[in-house]
C-alpha cells in the first residue's frame, strides 16, 4: 500500500490560516492503515485546528468527512453537493488522492495534510518499510522475491556492491543489504545458479524515467 506520514500541525496551520471554511477530507484506504489520514486522524486534526483558531480569535468552520477512496471518481462524487460550502479542502489522502480531488473540484484550493512516502508494508504496529518503487517491469522472479530497486540504496542489478559488509549496507549499519538478502534466499531456495546469470541492462522506460505513466486495459473498459 501507499505509506504516508502526518505533516506537522504547525505546517498545516500556516497553510490553512487564511481560509474561513475548511473541509478536512480523509481517505479510508492506505492512509487509514498507516494511521496518517483516516477518519481518526481527521477527527483529531479537526479538533486541534478548531481549538487553535478559536484561541487565536480566528474561528473557522472546520468540517470532517472521510471517503472510501479519493483516487476514484465514484467516491469523490459524494462531496459534489457540499464542496461549495468550503473555501478549501485539506486532504489527508496520499498525493494521488489530493490531486484527483483537485482535478475534480477545479475551483477549490486543495492542501495536502500528509507527506506521501513510498509503497511499503506494515512491518509492525507503528513501523512501515519500503518494498517497491513501481518500476513497471517486475524482476522479483529473478531476485528471490526481494526487490533490489527499492531495497538496495544504489539500485544495483548485479549486486552486492563493494559496500556490503556483514550483511549490512554501507549507507546505514542498521539497513540490510538487499543483495545479501537475495543471495541468502536464493541459497535457501536451492537456486543459487540463478545468481550466476548476469542481469541484462534494465529497461527504465517503464519506470518514472520514461515520464508519467499510464496503464490502459481495453479488455476491462466499457
Amino acid at each position: 500500500m501507499i505509506i504516508a506520514s502526518k505533516k506537522p500541525i504547525e505546517e498545516i496551520i500556516q497553510e490553512v490560516k487564511d481560509y474561513k471554511r475548511l473541509l478536512i477530507l480523509g481517505c479510508n484506504e492506505c492512509v487509514t492503515v498507516c494511521e496518517a489520514g483516516g477518519k481518526k486522524e481527521v477527527e483529531v486534526l479537526a479538533s486541534a485546528l478548531r481549538m487553535h483558531f478559536i484561541k487565536e480569535g480566528n474561528e473557522k468552520k472546520i468540517d470532517e468527512k472521510t471517503l472510501e477512496r479519493q483516487c476514484d471518481h465514484e467516491y469523490l462524487e459524494e462531496i459534489r453537493g457540499i464542496v461549495d460550502n468550503y473555501d478549501a479542502i485539506l486532504s489527508l489522502a496520499c498525493g494521488v488522492g489530493v490531486q484527483f480531488t483537485a482535478e475534480k473540484y477545479h475551483s477549490t484550493p486543495l492542501i495536502p495534510g500528509v507527506n506521501t512516502c513510498f509503497l511499503g508494508a506494515n512491518e509492525q504496529r507503528g513501523m512501515w518499510t519500503e518494498r517497491c518503487q513501481a518500476c513497471g517491469s517486475c524482476i522479483l522472479a529473478r531476485t528471490g522475491g526481494i526487490c533490489p530497486i527499492s531495497r538496495c540504496a544504489k539500485r544495483v542489478m548485479n549486486g552486492p556492491c563493494g559496500g556490503s559488509s556483514k550483511g549490512k549496507c554501507e549507507i546505514n549499519k542498521e539497513l540490510d543489504c538487499a543483495w545479501q538478502l537475495i543471495v541468502d534466499r536464493l541459497r535457501d531456495l536451492g537456486r543459487l545458479d540463478d545468481y550466476e546469470i548476469v542481469a541484462p541492462i534494465k529497461d527504465w522506460s517503464t519506470e518514472r524515467a520514461g515520464g508519467p505513466r499510464k496503464v490502459v486495459r481495453e479488455d476491462v473498459q466499457v
Binding site: 506537522p8 500541525i9 504547525e10 496551520i13 481518526k40 477527527e43 483529531v44 479538533s47 486541534a48 485546528l49 478548531r50 481549538m51 487553535h52 478559536i54 484561541k55 487565536e56 480569535g57 474561528e59
Partner: protein, 119 residues
Amino acid sequence: MRLKCPANFRIVRLPCTGKIDVIHILRAFEKGADGVYVVGCMEGDCHFKSGNFRARKRVEQAAKILDKIGVGGERVKMFNLSSGEGPLFAQYSIEMDKKIKELGPNPVKVALQAKKKAA
C-alpha cells in the same frame, strides 16, 4: 471511606483506560475542560495486559498536540493506582486541581466566552 476531593471534576468511566483515544481528550478541551487526567491501573496490572500503556501513549500524544496549538500539554496527565487505593485517588485529584488552578482556565474556553460577551 470518606475522602475529601475537589468538587470541580467530572468522572468519565471507561471499561479500561485502553479505551481512551486522543480524540476523547481533545473533545474534552473543545468542550471547555481546563484539564483532563486519566487514572489507570498500576503498570503491569492491566486486566487486558496493555490498556494502561496504550492510555499513557495517547495521553502523551494529546499533550503534544495541545502544546503545539497553544492550549498547553501540562493540562493532561496520566496517573496509575490500584483499585484499593482510594486515598491516592483523592490525592491525585487534589494534585491535578492545584496544578490546573495554577495554569488558569483553558484558553479556548476563555476565547469563546470573550466572543459571546462581545456579541
